[in-house]
């Protein structure tokens, strides 16, 4: 798996490459099936369950977990926490890839993907929250592309354009935070139109707030989680500054996440109190809800807090895995598990293996491109020509 093995063996058949290759091959075959046989040929979607894991995982989780981009760049450039500077580029790269893959995955899910520009350029349905999501994701993907471009421009040696783009950093960061606030929250608000379909414990007038707040700690946790993976496999690509700052980034982000998650738990309970849904907590759905909220939000929050106090890097990393899983669980609960909860079991949705394979395919492409970019471009280190801005 690690880069070193590849260099020692001088073979492209590393375990990583073999597995990734197999998944991508599988994905390509299913792609052909999707675009020749329609959604019916590869998915378990039906008229009652129009959205499956391509929306629940690829879109909702993809966007939430790519929140590290705006969180990190905001903390560094807007809040002036310069000690997180070395974390900005990896986070922006992840966010850019994340959003690009979300858009790619959408091409599988919508019926006529070439019409995806229609809502923006041809016939905007401004009453739809999906319009807001679409517009913001489109704009934010553009912002992320520009934010990411300095790394590529340094790699290509295009000094002049690079310096021009770097000057836009603050404006782009602010723009990014605005767009992220809007679409992270409106992804939750998408479900507000269907109070009769989503279980009351998950349905709330605060859905947009829940989604936005959880995107913050999803982003923070992803930066930590990804950092720990990068340290294991891409250690040799990191410069002294990155290595020196990385522990501080993990502990600092862990501490921030602990606070945000506790706030989130608070808002979640306010949501329950608002609609007086306490009695649902005693049901099976309530237990599932509490598992999500206690097991995957409160527990990692405490772990983060303890780890930040004891400066325990290992614990921060474990907490980040739990927190990321918690966000995934929450998004899947809202989009799939607790959606259509009132329907009889026979009418409920469970993804087909091909749907899961396409989701894996999308993630794998992300990992492969991430590896390529981080090994080629100045992501974990400062380009010698451009040090200190």
């Amino acid at each position: 798996m690690p880069q070193e093995t590849a260099q020692v063996n001088k073979s492209i058949f590393t375990p990583f490459n073999v597995i990734a290759g197999m998944i991508i091959f599988c994905g390509l075959i299913i792609t052909v099936l999707r675009f020749t046989g329609g959604l019916g040929a590869v998915t378990n979607l039906d008229d009652n369950n129009p959205w499956g894991i391509w929306i629940g995982f690829d879109l909702l989780c993809g966007v939430a977990l790519a929140a590290g981009g705006y969180v990190t760049s905001a903390s560094c450039y807007i809040f002036g926490l310069k000690r997180f500077h070395s974390a900005v580029r990896p986070a922006i790269l992840t966010a850019f890839l994340g959003y690009a893959l979300v858009v790619m995955a959408l091409h599988y899910d919508v019926g006529r993907p070439w019409r995806l520009p229609y809502p923006i350029f041809l016939s905007p349905g401004t009453t739809s929250l999906l319009f807001e999501v679409g517009l913001c994701v489109f704009l934010y993907l553009t912002v992320l592309f520009i934010e990411f471009s300095p790394a590529a421009l340094e790699w290509l040696g295009l000094k002049k354009i690079r310096n021009l783009v770097v000057r836009l950093t603050l404006v782009l960061t602010i723009f990014g935070v605005i767009l992220s606030t809007l679409h992270q929250s409106s992804l939750g608000a998408l479900y507000m139109i269907a109070p009769s379909k989503l279980h009351p414990l998950w349905y709330s007038g605060y859905l947009p707030v829940f989604f936005f707040v959880s995107s913050v700690f999803a982003g923070l946790s992803m930066v930590i989680f990804e950092g720990s993976l990068a340290h294991r496999h891409l250690h040799h690509k990191m410069d002294e500054t990155h290595l020196k700052e990385s522990e501080g980034v993990a502990l600092g982000f862990g501490k921030a996440a602990a606070f945000v998650m506790m706030g989130y738990v608070g808002v979640k309970f306010i949501g329950i109190a608002m609609d007086n849904n306490w009695h649902y907590l005693a049901t099976g759905w309530g237990l599932w809800f509490l598992l999500e909220l206690v097991g995957f939000v409160m527990v990692p929050s405490f772990l983060y807090a303890i780890a930040a106090r004891d400066r325990n890097l290992r614990l921060v990393r474990w907490a980040s895995i739990l927190a990321v899983l918690g966000v995934v669980l929450n998004r899947l609960n809202i989009s799939v598990v607790a959606f259509n909860w009132h329907l009889p079991a026979a009418d409920r949705y469970f993804p087909s293996w091909m749907e899961i394979a396409i989701s894996l395919f999308v993630v794998t492409i992300g990992v492969v491109v991430y590896r390529f970019v981080t090994t080629q471009m100045p992501i974990f280190y400062e380009h010698p020509d451009y040090e200190h801005k």
């Binding site: 129009p50 899910d109 919508v110 019926g111 229609y118 905007p124 999906l130 809007l182 998408l190 009769s196």
Partner: protein, 364 residues
């Protein structure tokens, strides 16, 4: 109750022109909207329905849908509860409380909400409420995102899942093209029992109320669709509680768009406030840095200055003490020299006294 064909056609002369003139999309907005005046609707009276499926057949024919495997006169289809599909815009379902009891038949199709959830949810305005009362779909705009299906509280829109590249969302059109031509909707026209009544919505509400009042034993005192989800153009009256015939009673009377109005209204707030706030935070953090920098420079300068001054003082002191020491040393030397000289003088005097010479006196 029923409307004669001539009377109906007469209205359409006027309404049809109005409807076609309103070609501009009229999608649901966040405003309170009580429906287009004089828009049409259909009243379904389940107490009259005999489950003959003639409406299904007519719907199939009128919309040129594929002919189903089981013919329409095969009533065994009714044994299963069905929903609308991409090739079936309307279904009649049979509900039986207990065995032996007479079944209740309920026709299911798009209810043509006054403020449709699907139209509000559509991000390309492919679905819209038109002035005839129908909720119509424009295939040429649809992206196929299926958010309308998520949004519909009645689970009506269906999707051509097996269509690879040109899948459409399908649903009852209230026979909008026929209405414009002055024809009755296919199902209404074919119903042999007058279980379906076509007319302006206002009129239909009155008809329904009159029936419920007149035969209060036969009906539940509720017009389903009068207020559900803000009201629908298609309404149903029944002798059986609606929840027992597959119609949800927990949908409430708020329009779908009212649920999303809140988050949509937050957009301008975020767009207006965030840049100000974030720039402010940036300015504050930058100022903090600047002040910290200034303070550091100042502190360094101060330290240097202090050190210099201290040094000067020390140096001065040292000079002073050195000068004193030097003076003392000189004095001491002088004293010693004097003493030496005195001693010498005394010695030489002694010597001269001994020798008798007087010279040392002048030396002094």
């Amino acid at each position: 109750m029923g409307i004669s064909r001539r009377q109906f056609l007469g209205w359409l002369g006027a309404a049809g022109v109005g409807a076609t003139a309103a070609s501009r999309a009229e999608a649901a907005s966040n405003k309170q909207f009580g429906g287009y005046p004089d828009s049409f609707g259909i009243l379904h009276d389940t107490t009259r329905c005999i489950g003959c499926r003639k409406c299904e057949e007519a719907c199939n024919k009128v919309n040129e849908l594929p002919v189903p495997e089981q013919p329409f006169d095969d009533l065994s289809v009714l044994d299963k509860t069905r929903r609308t599909r991409f090739d079936v815009f309307t279904v009649v379902n049979q509900f039986r409380k207990k065995d032996g009891q007479l079944p209740v038949f309920v026709k299911k199709q798009c209810n043509h909400c006054l403020e449709p959830a699907c139209a509000s949810a559509c991000f390309v305005r492919a679905l819209r409420k038109v002035k005839t009362g129908a909720v119509v779909y424009d295939e040429s705009l649809c992206v196929g995102c299926r958010y309308c299906m998520v949004a519909c509280p009645f689970n009506i829109p269906a999707y051509e899942y097996d269509e690879a590249l040109t899948p459409r969302v399908t649903k009852c059109t209230m026979c909008h093209p026929r209405i414009e031509k002055g024809l009755l909707p296919g199902c209404v026209e074919s119903c042999p029992k007058e279980a379906l009544t076509f007319g302006t919505r206002e009129r239909l509400v009155k008809i329904a109320r009159r029936r419920i009042e007149k035969y209060s034993n036969a009906y539940i005192d509720h017009i389903y669709g009068e207020h559900e989800m803000g009201g629908t153009s298609w309404m149903t009256i029944s002798g059986t509680p609606f929840s027992e015939i597959g119609m949800r009673e927990d949908l409430g009377t708020q329009t779908a768009s009212s649920f999303t109005a809140g988050p949509l209204s937050a957009v301008p707030v975020v767009v207006a406030l965030w840049p100000v706030l974030l720039t402010g935070i940036y300015a504050i953090s930058k100022r903090k840095d600047k002040i910290a920098d200034e303070e550091r420079i100042h502190a360094v300068a101060q330290t240097v200055a202090d050190a210099n001054q201290e040094m000067t003082v020390k140096l001065a002191k040292m000079k002073d003490s050195m000068a004193k020491e030097k003076e003392a040393a000189i004095n001491l030397e002088v004293k010693r020299a004097l003493e030496d000289a005195a001693k010498e003088a005394a010695e030489s005097q002694q010597a001269s006294e001994e020798t008798g010479s007087e010279t040392p006196k002048e030396e002094k």
